[in-house]
């Protein structure tokens, strides 16, 4: 029973982590909260849904959702971030991204309606016995894809010139640009990477919950925000571990706490962490990846 909940939590947490990693990347590089990130996740889910409804295989729906979200991330960077990067107060980008999230939610309402749309069953979900626990093939796919994507991101950040550019920009944009780093490119790359991961999480969770609504991104976005806090603002590995942690805690508490108390618990933990250790459990900063 415990092991079963653990598996459920791992799979949920993996998807949370994908969204939170994007938050924390953007926060680490720009020191900004991207309040439409939950909507990027939601749009990714709808793109995947559209493809799946059109009969595309699951992997194609997943890639499509990622691509759609990445393009959206690019557009958001252009219209809501870049114009106010050096102008306005530091809450201005918060406001522009709230506006973007309103537009995106209602644009999707316009296209698909406000009611939940069922996600087609993309492949036969078969139970797989792993010792004492039984998992479905879908759960394995979700967990595997999340882990693979995070490993890939880690590789990009650590091993490529692009990753170095991103880390240098997070450390200090002025110094980075003096050293010849293309800061604007690094920022755009961060938005593309973060959004693609959110899009993947959108498709994965839509398949898991079997339905999506235009407001699907709000709750998950909030949860990812909590995950980012737990992991340390701007800390990518922290967000990965934090996502899994929050997912597992959430799944485990199902057995012990009424569902509506679970959120209170999560936010209580979040406040405590902020007060006791404002840099999160694993310390802040992206630069130290």
């Amino acid at each position: 029973m415990l092991a079963q909940q653990l598996v459920n939590g791992l799979q949920l947490g993996g998807a949370y982590a994908l969204v939170a990693v994007g938050y924390t990347l953007i926060f680490g590089v720009l020191n900004l909260l991207h309040l439409a990130h939950g909507e990027v996740f939601m749009v990714g889910a709808y793109v995947g849904l559209a493809l799946a409804l059109a009969g595309a295989p699951f992997w194609a729906a997943l890639l499509g959702g990622m691509a759609g979200a990445a393009v959206l991330g690019l557009v958001i960077e252009r219209v809501a971030f870049r114009p106010v990067r050096d102008r306005g107060s530091h809450v201005t980008p918060l406001m522009t991204t709230i506006a973007v999230s309103l537009v995106l939610q209602h644009a999707v309402v316009k296209l698909y309606g406000a009611e939940p749309v069922a996600f087609p069953q993309v492949f036969a979900v078969v139970p797989v016995s792993l010792g004492p626990v039984t998992v479905t093939s879908l759960q394995l796919v979700i967990l595997g894809t999340s882990l693979a994507l995070m490993a890939l991101l880690d590789l990009v950040l650590r091993r490529t010139w692009l990753g170095r550019a991103i880390r240098a920009t997070a450390e200090n944009p002025t110094v980075a640009s003096l050293l010849g780093v293309n800061v604007s490119l690094a920022i755009v790359a961060v938005f593309v990477l973060a959004s693609a991961l959110a899009g993947a999480a959108g498709v994965l969770l839509a398949a898991n919950f079997t339905a999506v609504t235009p407001f699907f991104g709000v709750k998950v976005g909030l949860k990812a925000l909590a995950v980012m806090l737990v992991g340390g603002l701007g800390n990518v590995p922290g967000a990965m571990v934090g996502g899994v942690l929050v997912g597992v805690v959430e799944a485990l508490s199902v057995g012990y706490l009424a569902s509506s108390y679970r959120d209170a618990f999560a936010f209580g933990v979040m406040i405590l962490i902020l007060l006791v250790r404002p840099t999160g459990l694993f310390g802040a900063r992206l630069a130290a990846v």
Partner: protein, 269 residues
């Protein structure tokens, strides 16, 4: 006399202006809060409970809601002393969510089903009176000794301390007063909608309070007033657009913030 429809728009706009002011007040001292909805919830539930269960007069219920929210503001102010900028935004956001979830699990006030049977006491006149009092009080404070201390704290906290400003005192005063205003807004809201549920005071309530104030400009309290008045009535103006309404609304906010990133009434560009 005004039609019911217009009256209702005015009342909700007035409540939105109060919420914007409740965000503006701590913001004027550099304390950004994403949890004003939580204070509004406390004010609304307290006032409603006082009316429904205790049968106290409306004014007492309203004052009680304001008082509880003000005390909550004080309580949030203490931990907030240690935090700055986005960290503070995140903590206050978490506070707002805690409050929402708390009411979601409070059977005394209906839990998730919401709390009804609240007497219909709020009239447009009440909203106007509260609003005028709050604006009058804030504008007087703004021009006096404390107002200058607020601004100093927002501009440079270290320098303010070194020049003799007790930042702890000022921040607590800012949060307490902000809580009070949100609590009053909550009491007025509850006695107009007659039925409240926790979702009415969630993140989006808090973020919109912030949005109104920032949209209008954080330089003066008139920015918060103007921002809330405009954004609160704009959906009515856009009614003819039918299901394009929210999209256009969002685009108008985005466009305005891009043209005037410091807000409508700000002197800065």
């Amino acid at each position: 006399m005004l039609s019911d429809h217009v009256t209702s728009i005015l009342i909700f706009a007035g409540i939105d202006v109060l919420m914007a002011l409740s965000f503006y007040l701590p913001a004027a001292a550099g304390q950004l809060s994403a949890g004003q909805g939580g204070f509004m919830a406390l004010g609304a539930y307290t006032a409603a409970w006082l009316s429904v269960e205790q049968g106290v007069p409306f004014v007492i219920a309203l004052a009680g809601g304001g008082l509880v929210a003000a005390l909550a503001g004080l309580a949030v102010g203490f931990p907030a002393l240690r935090l700055r900028g986005l960290y503070l935004i995140l903590v206050t956001f978490a506070f707002g969510e805690m409050v929402r979830v708390m009411f979601l699990n409070a059977p005394v006030v209906g839990a998730a089903a919401g709390y009804g049977g609240i007497p219909a006491s709020t009239t447009a006149a009440h909203v106007v009176v509260v609003l005028v009092l709050v604006v009058f009080a804030l504008s007087r404070i703004g021009r006096a000794r404390m107002g200058l201390a607020f601004t100093a704290l927002r501009d440079d906290e270290t320098a303010a301390e070194a020049m003799g400003v007790d930042s702890t005192h000022v921040k607590l005063a800012a949060f307490t007063t902000g809580g009070l205003i949100a609590g009053l807004a909550g009491g007025l809201y509850a006695h107009y909608t007659l039925y409240i549920d926790p979702e009415a005071f969630g993140v989006s309530r808090s973020l919109f309070a912030m949005l109104y104030a920032v949209f209008g400009g954080l330089d003066t309290l008139w920015g918060a007033v103007a921002g809330a008045a405009v954004l609160s009535t704009l959906p009515e103006v856009l009614r003819g657009l039918k299901d394009w309404r929210e999209i256009v609304y969002g685009l108008l906010i985005l466009g305005t913030m891009l043209v005037r990133p410091h807000g409508l009434l700000s002197r800065r560009r």
